[in-house]
């Protein structure tokens, strides 16, 4: 099966800066794919390479089997939802949505009908006569989405699509985007620095750092079996364990990771386990997050709210199931 998007050893340099460094990537048709990473990690440049705003310095890109190098953005069957939405301020909402059809020479009646349908799809029917300036942030985002989808792209690119929205709206849009993607069966590629967003929405996630992909996998794989310390640290707040510590428990001298929720905190100090001192507690609502000091090693554990907590400064014993200790590929 041909990939929706395929990168082969793709690099993009800006002067001496390697924004994207020898990236291999395969995105399957119909997949909801997330590119996750801190700012400057190359994820947005990858998106722009797919859109055609950037050309690779080396390597090759293909979109549904067709080579994409040298093909300008306006000849790619790919559309983008921009971070700042980039709605045309001189056009009303309907003309904004119909823009792609207008430049392709679709007749007025037909393109307006298609634009109305697209607006209905993003739950903004009847907003056609408004100006972009009269809409809220969430509404502008929906218009930007409709404007991209009306062209029936084979790949939809979303650049930090939810970054400018407040929390409530963001959660709502996450569900909606996910449902829309399922209904339309279009390949979605979206860029985000928010790990929660990537894990909750994507079928697969690629974690970027310094122009390279650190790990590609399903959200479960990324979360439970991080390949490197960077992934473990960036995706969620995993405890990163040094090789010496890991050796004691697994017999292998490798870096390891342990999720905070996998750690059990026992108040008795006489049992088998890791001795630690409770440093502080953080109330998170459903959970309480404990900061612990195990002989100089800083660990975090989360426990359900409501359990009786040890006092700060008290000595406790930490236990965990051996299978929850994940050994990373990265050597010591």
């Amino acid at each position: 099966m041909t990939s929706a998007v395929s990168f082969t050893r793709v690099s993009r340099y800006f002067g001496a800066v390697r924004a994207v460094d020898a990236v291999d990537l395969d995105i399957a048709p119909g997949e909801f794919f997330a590119m996750l990473g801190p700012s400057g990690s190359g994820k947005t440049t990858c998106l722009r390479l797919i859109a055609g705003f950037e050309q690779p310095s080396s390597g090759s890109i293909s979109i549904f089997g067709e080579r994409a190098e040298g093909v300008p953005p306006y000849r790619r069957n790919v559309n983008t939802v921009f971070q700042d939405y980039a709605l045309f301020p001189h056009l009303n909402v309907l003309d904004n949505v119909a823009y792609g059809l207008m430049v392709k020479g679709v007749g007025r009646a037909e393109r307006y009908r298609a634009a109305e349908e697209a607006l209905a799809l993003v739950r903004l029917p009847g907003y056609g006569t408004r100006r972009p300036g009269e809409l809220s942030g969430g509404q502008r985002q929906r218009v930007a989405l409709a404007r991209a989808l009306v062209n029936r792209p084979r790949v939809l690119l979303l650049d930090e699509p939810l970054g400018a929205l407040d929390l409530k709206l963001r959660e709502e849009m996450q569900e909606e985007l996910k449902a829309l993607q399922k209904a339309l069966a279009i390949t979605f590629v979206f860029v985000t620095h928010d790990q929660g967003e990537a894990l909750s929405m994507a079928d697969r996630v690629a974690v970027f750092n310094e122009g390279r992909i650190m790990q590609v996998g399903t959200p479960q794989e990324i979360y439970q079996r991080p390949a490197t310390r960077f992934v473990a640290d960036f995706v969620g707040s995993s405890n990163i364990l040094p090789p010496d510590f890991v050796y004691r428990w697994s017999g292998q001298k490798r870096w390891g990771s342990l999720r905070p929720e996998a750690i059990r905190v026992n108040r008795s100090v006489n049992q088998e386990g890791v001795r630690a001192r409770l440093v502080s507690t953080n109330y998170l609502g459903a959970m309480i997050r404990l900061a612990l000091d195990a002989d100089g090693l800083r660990l975090h554990a989360t426990v359900p709210a409501g359990v009786v907590l040890p006092a700060e400064g008290e000595l406790v014993t930490l236990t965990f199931n051996r299978e929850n200790l994940h050994l990373m590929e990265e050597g010591a």
């Binding site: 300008p72 306006y74 559309n79 045309f88 301020p89 792609g100 430049v103 100006r131 972009p132 991209a148």
Partner: protein, 271 residues
């Protein structure tokens, strides 16, 4: 709105402001008044009588028509040149980074900072060095130097305010370079260009100094007026022409002012 709007200015300040405005604008009114005088040799006050005959006389003077037509043609063509060059230059300076960008933007603005007499002498000596005979086109070239600036300034300000991702969005939606310019860039900078163009037209229309140095035997309207003032013959004709000039230059500037004001509001709401 200012919060201290309810406070009125002291009476002395009002009188001073009124005097200042009167000092600036009464002479212009006098010019209009003298267009109706019956005295043709001296500007006598009070007017000996009122007449409309000078409008008819002006209408029938071929030299007035020649000067007017030359001025309009020079201003129109300078404005067109300025629109094309000014927009291209503004697009380059605001959209891309290249070596010498700051220098170019300074050099483009320089002609309005430079006294007209310097521009005039420089152009005149350049023309004679290159052995270019003075003609309609040498005037146009002289005027274009300062008209470009006006368009450039307006366009560059608008370019800076419009988001760069608009152009990318247009490409992304399938518009090629020409379509992107036609449907995305031009509508966003149109009012700025119109305003810049009108200002350029008005500047060119009443320009004297650079024209003096770059014109041969032709007379634009301002040059013709200076000549007329020297020899006292049918003097009120000059006043009639002055009225026309004020109208021709004032209306575009007023229109330009209102257009850019509205344009700002449109651009502001899009953010």
């Amino acid at each position: 709105m200012r919060s201290d709007r309810s406070q009125t200015a002291p009476l002395a300040l009002k009188i001073a402001a009124g005097c200042g405005l009167a000092f600036l604008h009464l002479p212009i009114l006098l010019i209009f008044v003298y267009a109706f005088t019956t005295e043709e040799k001296t500007f006598q006050w009070p007017l000996p009588g009122l007449t409309l005959q000078w409008f008819g006389i002006t209408w029938n003077r071929p030299d007035v028509w020649q000067a007017l037509s030359l001025s309009v043609r020079v201003a129109a063509i300078s404005t067109v040149i300025a629109l094309v060059l000014g927009t291209l230059c503004a697009a380059a300076v605001s959209r891309s980074r290249f070596f010498g960008r700051e220098t170019i933007s300074l050099l483009v603005i320089l002609p309005i900072a430079l006294p007209g007499i310097i521009t005039g002498i420089a152009l005149r000596s350049a023309f004679s060095l290159a052995e270019i005979p003075f003609s309609f086109w040498t005037i146009v070239l002289g005027h274009a130097t300062f008209c470009v600036v006006v368009v450039y300034n307006n366009a560059v300000a608008r370019f800076r305010r419009t988001s760069a991702s608009l152009i990318e969005a247009s490409y992304d939606l399938g518009a090629d370079g020409f379509q992107t310019f036609r449907y995305c860039v031009l509508p966003n900078i149109a009012t700025a260009l119109l305003a810049g163009g009108m200002l350029a037209f008005a500047l060119s229309f009443d320009e004297v100094i650079v024209t003096t140095f770059t014109a041969g035997q032709q007379q634009t309207v301002p040059i013709w007026m200076l000549e007329e003032l020297i020899r006292p013959r049918q003097r009120p004709v000059t006043n009639v022409v002055a009225m026309v000039v004020v109208l021709v230059t004032f209306l575009p500037i007023l229109l330009a002012y209102y257009l850019t004001r509205d344009g700002d509001q449109i651009a502001g709401t899009g953010k």
